[in-house]
Each structure stands twice: as C-alpha cells, then as structure tokens.
Amino acid sequence: MADEAQPGHSVRIETLDFEGPLDLLVYLVQKNEVDIWDIPIALITEQFLAYLQNMSAERLEGAGEFLLMAATLLRIKSQMLLPRPQLDEDEELEDPRRELVLKILEYQQYREIAEQLRERESAGRLVFARGMPEWDDALIAEAGHAPPEPGERVSLGDLLRSFTRLMEEARRDRVHHLEPLGVTIEEKAEFVRERLRREGQTSFRDLFVPGEPRSHWIVTFVALLEMVREGEIRLRQGERFGEIHVYAAGSAA
C-alpha cells in the first residue's frame, strides 16, 4: 500500500483519529463544506479511501467498520452513475444517498448532544459534594442508634463483576493444569496457508478446529489478523454477521 497521500482532491487527514466511519464522514462533509443533502459522493469516497490507506496498522482492529462503510460508499457511487429509469408521474426516484445521509445526520445529532454533555461534565467537576461524614457515627451512637454496618457500597455492576471474576478464576485454574499453550502464531499461520494452498479458499469458521483448546483459537485468530495486515490474505463477507470467507491475497476471488 502506498505511503504517500493521494493526489488531487485529497485532504490531509492521516494524522487525525476518528471514532468510526461515521465520524470520518461527518469530518469530510464539514471539511469540504458540501451540502449534506447533495453530497458529491465520488469526492467523499475518494477521500474516505485515502484515509483508509493511511490508517496505521494498530488501528486495524476497528478497520472492519471502515471497510464496510467504504463498500457502501462505492455501491452508492456506482448507483449514482446508472442511467435514471423513466418514471410515472406519481413515482419518486429514491436518491441512493438518502439512507446514508439520514445515518450521518442522526449520528451528528448524538455527537452534538455528546458535546453538550462534555460541557456539563466539565461544569460538574467544579462542584464538590460532601464526602461520607463518618464522624457522625459517634454522635448517632450517643443518640442511642446503632451505627451503620461497615462495608462497600455495591451496585449491579459490582455483583456481575464479582461473578465473572469467580468464574474466570475457576476456568484459569483448569487451563493451567491441563492445557499448556503449545502452539505458536507462525504454526497457525502455516496451517492457514496450507489450507489455502489445498482448497483455494476457506470459511473463517472452519479454521477454528472444534475440540481444540480455546487458547489455540486465540492464536489462530491473532495469526489471521497478522496475515490480513501483511496483505497475505483477504477476508470477505456476503452480509453483516454472515459467513466470512478467507482467500489468499493473490487469488482471483
């Protein structure tokens, strides 16, 4: 992938960090000062892709969401290029950009609220309530009442966390006694390569061998992430949460 920024309309945005693809789109719309109801989709798509190409490897974790949006932009762009069909008088042509625009606007609205909450958070940090006045307990006892029971104040979050921790401890104990890790990322990468050499492609799910320790699955997963980052393999998915397919980067998908 080229390190240089894209020429032409490209805006220099590679140093900025975005919360997600919608955050990036809002930025591009504002930066280019375009009408939200008439977004120049080709321009925005080009800049969006330029950002993706400059995205650092550490951010690969969230790249799936950006890639999904890139695919959406490209689809809209191609729909915009299609010749407009003849319509009856009472029929209205749906703008291919409409759904995306509504999404951007809705997101933008919540971002605006978030900003106002940020101001309130800052204001709230300037006032201080009184801490727990423990010294009143002696007075209360003097007045003939039992002082409150000591202990931590608990919430549902505390309860859930407590249970999760207990279960994790139980699980960790078992893992340590029965299952040494015994597999490396490189071994798992080779396993994936071997599968692709033999079958050309494979489903993501099939790479996780049933019955294998969970720890091996993690190693496989990390190996896959590495291979995507290195450009060695590509992942493709028909629909959201659908089956994911793995291809060797060089193969015709």
């Binding site: 919360e19 969401e65 809705e106 006032v127």
Partner: protein, 201 residues
C-alpha cells in the same frame, strides 16, 4: 417565620449536610416529619437565599430528582488542591457519544447503539456500566431477547441534571430535521415494547 419553621429548616439543613446522595423532597419530608414535600421545596429555597446573603461557600443544588449541598464552582481550584488524587477520569468521546444515544433512545439494545454509531460498543458499554452511568433495564421482546440499557440516577448526578427532561437538545439539528426530514424525528422517538417485569415471575 415562627420557631417551629426555623426548626424544620435546620433539620433539613442537617440532613442535606449529612447525606452522601441527593435526597428527594418526598424523602426529606418523611425524615423531617410533619412537613409536606411542597414545604421542603420552599424551605430549600429559603436555605439558598440564606447562603447567598451570608456568603456561604456552598449551596443546595437540585439534581437527579433531589437536593444536595455542593460547593460553589469558584472554589474548585482550592478544593482540587485538597483532593490531589483527582476524581474519576473524564469520559472518552466514544463513551459520551454512546451515552447520548442511551439517554435519548432508552431502553435501547447494544445492536441499536452499534448501528447508530457505526462501530462496536461493547468495550464502551462495559465502562459505562462499570461507572454506573448506564444500567440494564430489562430485555427486549422477540428474537434473542437482547438486554436493554438505560441511564442511572448517577448519570443525572454526573452531568448535573435535575431530571432526564433537562437533557440538552441540539436545537439547530432539530430545526433541520423538522424542515427536511420529518421521518428521522419520528425514528428517534419510536416507542419500544419493554418486557413487563410483572409477567416474568
């Protein structure tokens, strides 16, 4: 004001002073005894007038459906020196955005939050539940019965809000929506079926 009124006001002050959470007018009325929640509200107003006149460094704040005593903001600098360790860290942008959606769309599922923000929110949701800004309020009817999330009283406290109605409104955008796309506004306000806890037992 007669002597008995003065007594109630003092008791009220003692309670607000000793409490470590906001107290509602109803709860204060029950604790003081022989006064109504309406009278509590009046007395709180009197207390604040007293504090202002006497130049006290604190006042009664209306927050999260109740009242609590807090210092005036101009003393923040000195108190920060006292509490060098600092309070809880500021929320991240991701947390604030997610929280905004929860606040307006509650009860809301994780999937809905992700569809509006366009990114996974599980980590952020964990932080928000950990910090008691968001809580589980039930499950949605239908497929998979996903958990529904809503805001807590601590959310109101944290942002200095007397109630959910006092949430800030993004005016400009609302006007935009009203002019151009009424559908979005409707989508924002769409009501939701919430499992009735009474049915479950």
């Amino acid at each position: 004001m007669n002597g008995s009124d003065a007594g109630a006001k003092q008791v009220l002050e003692a309670l607000l002073f000793a409490a470590d959470e906001p107290l509602s007018a109803r709860r204060l009325a029950a604790l003081v005894e022989e006064i109504t929640p309406g009278e509590v509200t009046d007395l709180v107003r009197e207390l604040n007038a007293d504090y202002l006149r006497e130049g006290r460094a604190f006042h009664v704040q209306e927050i999260a459906g109740g009242y609590r005593l807090v210092t005036r903001s101009e003393f923040a600098g000195w108190i920060a020196g006292l509490r060098a360790a600092g309070g809880s860290p500021r929320l991240t942008q991701a947390a604030l955005e997610t929280l905004s959606i929860v606040a307006y769309k509650q009860p809301v599922t994780r999937t809905e939050l992700e569809s509006i923000r366009g990114v996974a929110v599980e980590g952020v949701l964990k932080t928000l539940v950990d910090r008691e800004l968001v809580r589980i309020v039930g499950r949605e009817e239908g497929m998979g019965r996903p958990l529904l999330y809503g805001t807590t009283d601590h959310f109101l406290e944290y942002f200095g809000l007397p109630s959910l109605d006092a949430l800030p409104r993004p005016d400009e955008l609302e006007i935009l929506f009203a002019d151009r796309e009424r559908q979005v506004e409707l989508a924002l306000e769409e009501p939701r079926a919430v499992a009735d806890p009474g049915d479950e037992e």
